[in-house]
Amino acid sequence: MLDKNQIAKRIAKELKDGYYVNLGIGIPTLVANFIPEGINVVLQSENGLLGIGPFPTEENVDADLINAGKQTVTMVAGSALFSSAESFAMIRGGHVDLTILGAMEVSENGDIANWKIPGKMVKGMGGAMDLVASAENIIVAMQHVNKAGESKLLKNCSLPITGLACVKKIVTELAVLEILPSGGFKLLERAPGVSVEEIKQATEGKLIIDGEVPEMDV
């Protein structure tokens, strides 16, 4: 079973040189810590920054420079600042190469639910609906099962949808899975020590196993 940092580390292997990447709040944010050597990526923050740098030192904290999670950040050399309209023009126009975000549920055809739990306080979708509706390449970082042990990789999402048929890949504490264009979670890799059977048990939606499933390298 992977911990949060290992999930982030595994996702970081999906980064390609030259990618512009939008990282959601939570585990996705951690991906920035594991960018492979020699891979040059630029992080986009939907509140208006291309080129997010590390957190600032105490002396360099600037209230006017935050990321979409409202955390104080810095800029790398070559950054650009812009308005929210320009930022979502980038997102909606498909200029961001990869979007990594969390999810409460994903369905076997790639629907994602990550913004609302009926009966609980609704906080709002923020930029999530724009991101999932626009990105060509979406990787979801999520837990395979909820606290009650129920699968979050489903036939159909039970929670209100954020976007339809948009998730391409999922990394959980148990596995790496690809969502096939024809539907279904294709099992690509197992977490170290996790059996195919355990993944089967934890997956409610259609799980596709094609030959030997390698253990992932994290």
Binding site: N47, L65, K70, A85, M125, M129
Partner: protein, 231 residues
């Protein structure tokens, strides 16, 4: 150049009536018009519709106007930092229209740019698509979304000149340039008011044509929601 300088926040908001539709700049607490929010609290204007990406926190930003029950409706993308907000929403005292963040930004831009409606993929197949026209272009489905306009747009910039030209700092730009254009009356408070001619015309984020009133702000607190530091 036209001189748009006024004395301060109280004069800026003096004619905002009860029931007005306001746009307020800022992302979280970053770039919010602190002086004008204080003046709105002093004035006690009520039944406001506030269009703003967020609703502040319990004790700062728009959150303060929620406490005093001055807000009737919020149009926002994310409102999750605020307990009083939650209480008013659940009790039915407050109405909320949630809009995807990019759609919100674009609806405001459309309001300023004279575009009554446009198509966006955000929200297709979700509950925010209810009652909206869906149309397919080149094999992909899109929602029709409409412009947003305001009676008053209230924004904060870093530098501004007496003609209303504005420059923002860091990520404090966010929704403010589009709001400037979408307000019938746009009020800009600035950290530094400079004489006309001091700003490089190529570096202006919001041209003065969009700003009707400008004043030198004061006592900025610039509260930080998530102070994250590295060693």
């Amino acid at each position: 150049m036209i001189n748009k300088v006024i004395s301060g926040a109280d004069e800026a908001v003096a004619d905002i009536p009860d029931g007005a539709i306001l746009m307020l700049g800022g992302f979280g607490l970053c770039g919010i018009p602190e002086n004008c929010i204080s003046a709105l609290l002093r004035k006690g204007v009520k039944d406001l519709t506030c269009i703003s990406n967020n609703a502040g926190v319990d004790d700062f930003g728009i959150g303060l106007m929620l406490k005093t029950h001055q807000v009737r409706k919020m149009i926002s993308s994310y409102v999750g930092e605020n307990k009083e907000f939650e209480r008013q929403l659940l009790s039915g005292e407050l109405e909320v229209e949630l809009t995807p963040q990019g759609t919100l930004a674009e609806r405001i831009r459309a309001g300023g740019a004279g575009i009554p409606a446009f198509f966006t993929p955000a929200g297709v197949g979700t509950e925010i698509a209810e009652g909206k026209e869906v149309r397919e272009f080149e094999g992909k489905k899109y929602l029709m979304e409409k412009w947003l306009k305001a009676d008053f747009s209230i924004i904060k910039a870093w530098k501004g000149d007496t003609a209303g030209n504005l420059i923002f700092k860091g990520t404090a730009q966010n929704f403010s340039p589009m709001m400037a254009a979408a307000g019938k009356i746009t009020i800009a408070e600035v950290e530094e008011l400079v004489p006309v001619g001091s700003l490089n015309p190529a570096q202006i984020h919001t041209p003065g044509i969009y700003v009707q009133r400008i004043f030198q702000g004061k006592d900025y607190e610039k509260r930080i929601e998530q102070r994250t530091v590295s060693q």
